[in-house]
Amino acid sequence: MDLEQTVGAAETLLKPFTVGAPSREVSRIDVVIRRADLPAAVKALVDARWGYLAAITGLDHPWPKPKPGAKPAEPPAEPVGPIEDRLEALYQFVNGALVATLRVSVTYHDARVPSICSIIPSATLYERELHEMFGIIVEGTPDTGRLLLPDDWPDHTYPLRKSFKGLNRAV
Amino acid sequence: MRIGAMLGDISRSLFKRPVTERYPFERKAAPERLRGQLTFDPAKCTGCKICVRDCPANGIEIMVVDKVAKRFVMRFHTDRCTYCAQCVVSCNFDALGMSHEQWELAALSKEAFLVSFGREEDIQALLNQVTCKPGAAPVVPVAPATT
C-alpha cells in the first residue's frame, strides 16, 4: 500500500468522527474528534487493522496572558480544536510511514477522556502517563496506581502542565 | 545441537593474554578526536558569549575585562561539562577547542574542577573581586598540569 492509499483509508475510516482537520504534512494527518467519539474512532482503526497505537501525547494550551488593555476573551463553550485554554490529548497511530493523529480537547475543569484499553490493552501505560503528567483523567483504565511519578508526589499536581513551576517542598 | 559450543574460545583464551587493560599502570594514547578539557584562546575570542548561551550544562563563564585589548577570562567547570563540544561548534572564531591530552580530570577536591584561562593578572584581579563577596566560589588560577 502506498502512502496515498494509506491516507485515503484512514480518512475514510475516520470520516464519521471528524470535526476538523487542522494540519497536514506529507506523512501526517490530524483529525480533530469529539471526546465521546474517541473509542468508536479507535475501534474503527483497530478493526480495519490500520497501523498501531504509537503514543498518546498530552498538550497544554494555557490561555495566553491578555495584552495590556485588552479584555480577556471568553473561552468557547464546545471544545472542537487545538484552541487555547485547553488540554489536548493526541492519539497517534502509525501505519508504515504515515502517522494519523486523533486530537481530543478537554477543558481544565472537565479534564477526562474515555479509556481505550478495552480496544487496545497495551494503551494503559500511555493512559496512566497522560493522567499523571497532565491530569487528564482516563475513565475506565484498569490500573490507576502511580506509574512514573514517586509515591509521595502530591495529588493534583501535574508536572507537564505549563502552570507547573516546580515543587516547593522542604527537604 | 551440541554441548559446549564455546569450547574453542575458552581453550584458546587459556594461552592468550587477557584483553583486560591494566589502566593506571598501562596507558593507551587517547584518540586524537577525544573530547577532553576545554581549551581557550583569548586572542581569538570576541566576547560574543554564544558558547555560554548554547552550553547545555552551564559549564562556561566568560568575563570580559577589556574587549579591545582581547583581555578575557574564561572559567571552565570540568565537573559540569558534558563534553558535547557544542561550544566548539558554536564558536565562530575558533577560540575554543577540546584537548585530547588532558582528559584525566577526576580530582579529590572541588577546587580542581574549576579551570581558568586568561592572563594571569586578570585572573588574579577577578579572584580578588570574587573573594571579597561572601559565599562566592573560590577560583583556582592555572590549569593543573597533568602528564
Partner: protein, 305 residues
C-alpha cells in the same frame, strides 16, 4: 606419605584447621582466576578471597526480623564445622588421613552434605522471598545429585573392597587410574561435585539474576564469611576425594597439587562452558541421565567382581 602428627597439630594447624582455611582460599582464587582466563579476563589477584573474608569478618552482621537467632548464627558454624571435619578423613595434601575407620567414606559424604543442608535451612529460616525460593531450590538440587554422586563414589570403593577412604586411596595408588577403568563414574562424580558446590551451570539455587543470592541473601558479615570459607573447604575436600579415588591416589603433596589442580582446570572449563540450568532441567538431568549412568556402572562393577 604417612606422617604421625600430634592430634592438636593435626586438628588446628595441619592438615586440619589453619591449613584448610588458607588452602581453601587459594583454591577459590585459582578457580576464579582460571574461569577469568577462560573468559579472556585477568581475574582477581591472589589475596582477593582472603581479603573478601577478612572484610566480611570485620563487617556488622545484620540479623533480619523474624528469624530464629540461634539457627541464624548456628547454621554457618555447623556448615563450616561439617566441611572441616570431613577434611580430616581424606588424604589432604597427599598425607594419609589423620583419622580413619571403616566406613568413614559414608560419614565424609554426609558431612559434606551438611553444608548444603545448612544453607537450605539458613535460607528457609529467614522470611526473605529470595531466600525461601533459594532454599527450596538448594534442597531440591541436594536430593537430585546426592544419590548419583554417592553411587559414583561407591564405584572405587567396591573396586577396592573397602569403605575406608585411606584404603581406597592405597588401592588406587597401586592400580591403573580408575578414571580409565570407570570413566562414567568419574564423570558423574565430577559433575556431582559441581552440583554440590553449586558452581555454574548448577548455580540456580543462587542465581543472582533471579533470586539475588538465594538462601544467602539475608546473610552479611560473619555468617556469610563462614559460609564462604565452608564452601572453599568443601571445594578442597571434594577435589581431594576425587583425585584420591579416580586419579590414582594421593601419595605425596606434589601429586596432590598436580592432580587437584588438573581437576580444578577441568571444573573451571566446565563452569565457563555452559548456560545456567533451570532447576527443573537440573533435576531432570540427574534423575534421567545421572542416576542411570551411575546405576549402570555400579551393576557392571558388582557383576564383574
Amino acid at each position: 606419605m604417612n606422617i604421625e602428627l600430634p592430634p592438636l597439630v593435626a586438628l588446628l594447624l595441619f592438615p586440619g584447621g589453619l591449613f584448610l582455611l588458607s588452602a581453601g582460599t587459594v583454591y577459590e582464587w585459582a578457580d576464579r582466576k582460571l574461569v577469568a582466563r577462560f573468559q579472556n579476563r585477568i581475574g582477581p589477584r591472589w589475596f582477593q578471597p582472603v581479603a573478601d573474608v577478612v572484610k566480611l569478618l570485620a563487617k556488622e552482621e545484620i540479623v533480619p526480623d523474624g528469624v530464629n537467632p540461634v539457627l541464624f548464627h548456628g547454621l554457618p558454624v555447623v556448615a563450616l564445622v561439617g566441611t572441616l571435619t570431613a577434611a580430616l578423613y581424606v588424604p589432604m595434601a597427599g598425607i594419609a588421613p589423620s583419622y580413619s575407620f571403616t566406613g568413614d567414606l559414608i560419614v565424609t559424604l554426609y558431612l559434606l552434605s551438611l553444608m548444603t543442608l545448612s544453607m537450605g535451612l539458613a535460607g528457609a529460616n529467614t522470611l526473605d522471598r529470595f531466600s525461601l525460593i533459594g532454599a527450596n531450590r538448594a534442597l531440591t538440587q541436594l536430593f537430585s545429585y546426592e544419590a548419583p554422586f554417592l553411587m559414583a563414589l561407591l564405584g572405587p570403593a567396591i573396586a577396592a573392597g573397602s569403605w575406608q577412604i585411606s584404603q581406597v586411596d592405597a588401592y588406587a595408588q597401586g592400580h591403573w587410574w580408575l578414571v580409565l577403568t570407570q570413566p562414567v563414574g568419574f564423570l558423574v562424580a565430577l559433575v556431582g561435585l559441581m552440583g554440590k558446590l553449586e558452581l555454574p551451570p548448577f548455580d540456580s539455587p543462587e542465581a543472582e539474576t533471579e533470586i539475588v543470592a538465594g538462601p544467602m541473601t539475608e546473610y552479611s558479615g560473619r555468617g556469610w564469611a563462614l559460609f564462604r570459607i565452608g564452601r572453599d573447604v568443601e571445594l578442597l575436600v571434594g577435589l581431594t576425594l576425587m583425585a584420591a579415588f579416580y586419579l590414582g591416589g594421593l601419595a605425596n603433596p606434589i601429586e596432590f597439587m598436580l592432580k587437584t589442580g588438573g581437576l580444578l582446570l577441568v571444573t573451571a572449563a566446565l563452569q565457563s562452558l555452559f548456560c545456567r540450568l533451570r532447576i527443573d532441567q537440573t533435576v531432570g538431568m540427574w534423575w534421567r541421565i545421572g542416576i542411570l549412568l551411575a546405576l549402570a556402572q555400579l551393576f557392571l562393577l558388582v557383576f564383574m567382581r
